[in-house]
Structure formats: structure tokens, C-alpha cells
């Protein structure tokens, strides 16, 4: 019985700590509108991909919602190191702020999610 009560106490502790704001909002392109300030954006890369992450203009691409067909697209302006697996269709996570309709990324914050090679291979590229 000691074991169960201690376990219960631990459970409460964990739930509390997790809910107490350790969570970081991961927004999708479709829900980005209206959020100001630093957020984390997660989406699938949509072409065309132009520019260079190390040049003045930065790397430019668009993101759409993963797994759903909503038309929402967000233009991203990125500088810094680009992960290997980055390409059109990849699921990526990037931090930054929405400014004048363009998501300006925090330099170096672009990360690809662990390869989604286990989900069905077809991914629409628009």
C-alpha cells in the first residue's frame, strides 16, 4: 500500500509539473495567424525553396499543415545551418516570430523531425 500511495503522489507531481507551463506551444501554419511573439512552428516543407541560408536574403520556403489538406501556407525566412534531411515534403520544426505575414525564423533553429519514412511514402508537394 505504501508503494501505491507513493506512486500516486509521484503521478500527481508529474502531472502538475508538466501542466505548469513546461509545454512549449507547437503551432501549425493554419493556427499561426494572430500569434505574436516567439513561437515554435511545425509543418511540412512546400516548394519553391529559394535563396541561401547563409546569404543576405536568407533561405525562403513555405510550410503547410502536416497531415491535413487545409490551404494555409506560411512563408518562412531562415538563416543559419540547414539540417541534412531538409527538402520539399519534410516535416520540420522551426522557432521564430510572425512579422508582416512572413515567419522570421530564429537563426539555426531549423530542425527536421525524425524521418517520417514509416508513414505512407506519398506526400503531396504543393
Amino acid at each position: 500500500m505504501i508503494a501505491l500511495s507513493v506512486a500516486a503522489a509521484l503521478a500527481v507531481f508529474i502531472v502538475y509539473t508538466a501542466l505548469a507551463g513546461n509545454g512549449v506551444a507547437q503551432l501549425r501554419p493554419s493556427s499561426l495567424v494572430g500569434h505574436s511573439g516567439d513561437v515554435t512552428l511545425v509543418g511540412a516543407v512546400v516548394g519553391p525553396v529559394t535563396g541561401d541560408a547563409y546569404s543576405h536574403g536568407g533561405l525562403r520556403f513555405r510550410l503547410k499543415d502536416i497531415g491535413s489538406a487545409t490551404p494555409a501556407r506560411v512563408a518562412v525566412d531562415y538563416r543559419g545551418s540547414v539540417p541534412d534531411l531538409f527538402k520539399v515534403g519534410r516535416h520540420v520544426v522551426v522557432e521564430g516570430t510572425l512579422r508582416n505575414g512572413v515567419f522570421v525564423a530564429k537563426p539555426g533553429s531549423l530542425v527536421t523531425k525524425c524521418p517520417s519514412k514509416y508513414t505512407p511514402a506519398k506526400s503531396s508537394n504543393t
Binding site: 508529474i14 513546461n22 497531415g67 541534412d84 527538402k87 508513414t119 511514402a121
Partner: protein
Amino acid sequence: MADLGRSALLIAFGLIAYALIAGSYAAWKRRRRLALSAQNALIAAFPAVLIAALVLLLALGRRDLTFVYVWQHTSHKLPLGYALSAFWGGQEGSLLLWLLVLTGYAGLAVWLNRRSRELMAWVVPVFALIAGFFAFMLCFVSSPFHMQPAPADGQGMVPSLQNPYMLAHPPLLYLGYVGLAVPFAFAMGALLSGRTDERWIVATRRWTLAAWTFLGVGQLIGAHWAYVEIGWGGYYAWDPVENAALMPWLAATAFLHSVMIQEKRGMLKVWNMVLVALAFNLSLFGTFLTRSGVIDSIHSFAKSPIGGWFLAFLGLMIVFSIVLIYWRLPLLRTKTRLESLVSREATFLYNNLLLVALALTILWGVLYPILSEAVRGETRSVSKPYYDFFLHTFGLPLLLLMGIGPLVAWRRASLRSLGKTFLIPFAAAVMTGVALLALGFGSSWPGLLAYTFAAFVAASIVLEFVRGRRAAGSLTRLVSRNRRRYGGYIVHAAVLLLAIGIAGSSAYQTVRQRVLRPGQSVEAAGYTLTYLGSNGIRGPNYTGFRSAVAVSGHGERFTLHPGMNNYAIEGPATEASIYHDPRSIGDVFTSAQVVNANRGTIDLKVEVKPLINLIWVAGFVFVAGALIAMWPDAVEQKRLAARYAAGAVPAGL
């Protein structure tokens, strides 16, 4: 040939379905021949699945692109070894691997224990239930034998998977994941048959230890691969796919400890049932996590063909476990109570609570995005700070307990005798802590605590061997007469090395990132790294570049060559360059990206990670310790055989 594969799978499915239905009926109605027949069906499933597996292997080896699966995961230029490893590269193949290992393990375990007919009568249908799901999926939902007209070339394999470590990592993990099904099936079989004795534990002890070892080593290899191949500079990112293997491993660790209490004191029977079910269901969940897109988004999970099936099956197994345990609760309750909060049983219990708490914390972190999306419509996720916090909160006391446990006697330990046995380790810890503080290690309190506790544990393990050797006469005699205990101590030593390695390479690492032109340098932890320049390179299926970085410092000079490979079909891949520093048993890790090819400018990232190589060394020590603990003991085997043979009452006598 695909027809052969499909037929073999259908035959396997038929055999498994028979084993399930006939086996359950035979166990319920106590029909001897039918139970034997069901057992045979389960055993026969393995060769059938093996044939299907060989068909797929052959297709992969020949690069037969008429197989959709082969087309999706290989290409003509892909070297043979990697083409074969594509077997587990995709969903269908990995389901097939699961089924292959499961039927192999199940057949062997059941055959080895065929004399315990009463227990096996129920164990067979439980195995068949699990195998049945995978066979069903392979036959009717997710077949590896879909065909197509042959295209020109395959889609190729992600370059980061073309690495020797990736040949070992998934199979080892699967041998571990699936291995946890064995103690689970025996435990549920024991509950179904109403047997409350330790037979199922005795029969599966080595299976559990082996599965646990495979799972641990598999994870270490995966971590090593991530470190050297992916090149982001780390070895564990708390990614759901990584956590998927860690959670069952933690639960299995708890289980391995608490069964010792059941064997020694006859208590915690209910807890052990719960733990083994938890370990197995976490293992299923882990497979499910990596096989469906559920963590990406609840929407992509719904679209994945197997997501719904997997969830339903997982739900079924969880309900099945809970119902069985609840039903047999009266049989499992014992009168034995914990005699003292200061006893080895108690420390095992604390160890269990911490391990399970850590596993559940990680589970919560993994589920959080899905739950928050379902509840709030907005995906929130937890990240490194969350996991680090709980790793410290639960992991550090666990580390300390590893040193305390062996020093405490069973049942009851008086504070006076504790004081005596604790003295030397405690002194070692205090001295280490003070010395480290003086040397400036106070910059990270978790790191300092980790090192201090490690000193305590190291001293306690060394003392165990020294005192034991004195009592037994020689080291060999000591270890061979107490294989489980001293094998366990060696495993603890491995965990100790792991903890020190992790603490050093995370709490005390130095990271620098700078854009450099040829001739420019950057400083990191006493090293000066000067970028000399880059040139292009060419390989069998890639082009790319390599830079030359001259490093000097701490009396050493060496050159590193970070760069990138650009694969024709699959795209770019970072090639990190690592120097293993004997002075700090650590690494100088570098990776580079091209900023301006004409001017030769690169973006160089340097990470100096002390003691990181202890992590890999720990893997070897871990295996050695586990092998010693598993080593068969003829005397013990005979005694156990006598105990259980005497108990059986043959029918018809």
C-alpha cells in the same frame, strides 16, 4: 515468388489462429492432445514465417523492383549489405521481423518448457494472440508482397542509414522488444492457469535478462549511430522514437529487480505482474509509435493504414492484462510484509518506484502533444528541459541507490551495521565532491552530484568484490558461485560508466559555432581550431566536400575533416569528424556546412565532450555483466528441475 511469400504468411496465420482458438479451448476443457496440437501449430508457425522472410530477403538482395517494398527502400547502386538491411527499413518489413522473432522465441520457449504442460497450455494461446495480430496485419492490411511493373530504379535508402551501426541497431532492438513478450506470455499463462508458484519466473528469467540486454545494447548502438552519423553533436534527443525504446527498458529494469524480491521473500507478486505487463505493453506501444505517424499529428495517424489497428490491439492487450491480474488478485496476495524501510527489499522498492516514475514521465512527455491537441485543439509539446529535469530528479537518486542497495542486508539492517559498511563509500564520495568543487566542477550541480554519487557507487562495488573475494578465496570462485549477484554488480559498474559519461559529455561540454574563412580560428575548452580550407570529394554514389581543420591544445596536435556528402538520389548528409582524446576519454566533435563555396567559407560547429567514450565502453561492460549473470549454473538447474518435477502429477496414474 511473391506468391510463395504470401502463401507462407497465410499458412502462418492459419497455424497461429488454430493455436489461439484450439489452444484456448484445450486449456479450458483440459484436453491433452488438443493442447499439444495447438503447441505444435505455434512451433510450426516459425518455419512458415521464415520462408516468407527469406522470400523478401532474396527479393531485396536481387534488387527485384517488381516488389513495391524493394522499390521503396533500395536502389540498384545500393551496396548489398544495406539492401538486405532494408528488410526492416519500412513498415511491412519491420512487422515481418517482429513476427519472425516472436514466432522464433515463442516456439523455442514453449518447446523448452514442454514438460510443464499445464502452464504451456495457457502460454501457447497468449503467444498466439500476440502473433495473431502481426500475422493478420501482414496478410490483410500491410503486406510486404505487393507487386508492380518494374520501374527503372528504386527510391533508395536514406544515406544516414547506410552505416554499419544501422545493420545492428534495429535487429537488436527487435530481439529486445519482442523478447519481452516471453515473460509476459508466461506471466499471463500463469494467471490463466491459476498457478501462483514461481515457475513462470524461473522459466523466463534468462529470457527477460537477454531481452533487456538486447534492448539496452540496441539503444546504445542507436545512440552511437546518431552521434557519429547524423552529426548534430548529440547521442540522445528525447525524440519519441528514442523514448519508445527507453520506456520498456526502464520498466524491464524495474521488473528484473523486483522479481528478485519475489524469489527471495515471496512478496510483490501483484506488482511483478503489473510490471511485466507494463514492460510488454510499453514495448508494443513503442513499436506502434515508430510505425504510425501518431506523434506528428493525430490526423496523420488516422490516415496511416495500421494506426487504428495497432491502437485497438494495444488497447486489447492492456485490458487483457488488467482483467487477468484483477481476476487473480486473491490468489496473488501474500501475507509477507516489508519488515523494515531500511532493508534491501526496501531499496529495491525505491529503485522500482523511481524507474517506473521515470518511465511514466517520459510516457507523459511523449503523449503530451497528442493529448493537448485532443483537449485544447493546439499542439503543445515538452522538450529537453522537461526531460532533463526528471532525469535529474529520478536518475540521480537511482544512481545513489545502486551504491546503497548492495550494502544493505535483506529483511532488516541495523543503523549501526549500515554505518560501518557505508563509511568507506561515503568518505570516497565526500572526498570526490570536495575535490571536484575545488577544481571548478560546481558549474553544473547535476554533474557534480552525478560524479559524487558515482564515487560512492564505485567504492561500494569495489568493496563488494574485495570483501567477497576474501570470503570466497579467489575472484573466480567468488563470481562463479554467485553469478547473478556479481554479474549484476558488473552491470551496475556499466551503468556507472554510462552515468559518468553522460554527465561529463552533457554537463561539462563546450560548444562553439562560427562562420570561418580559410585561415581563421575558433577557441574551445583550451583547443584552438584553425580552418585551413576545403576541397571537393567524390564517392560511389555521392559527391561532396571535406574541410581541413588543424587543432592544437593541451599538448596535442591533430587535424579534423568535417564535411558533407551529397547523394545522387537521396540528398545531402553531414559527415562529422571526431577526434577521440585519450587525455579526457572524451571527444572533439566537429561538423561543417558550406556558406560560400567560392570563398571557401564554412559554418563550423565544435563540441568538446569530456568522458563521452565511457558511454560506449559501458556497453561492453554491460554485456559482459549480463552474460555472467545469465550463465547457467548446473547445480542450481538440477535443484530447480527437482523442485518442479516433483510437483507434477502425471495424468492417469
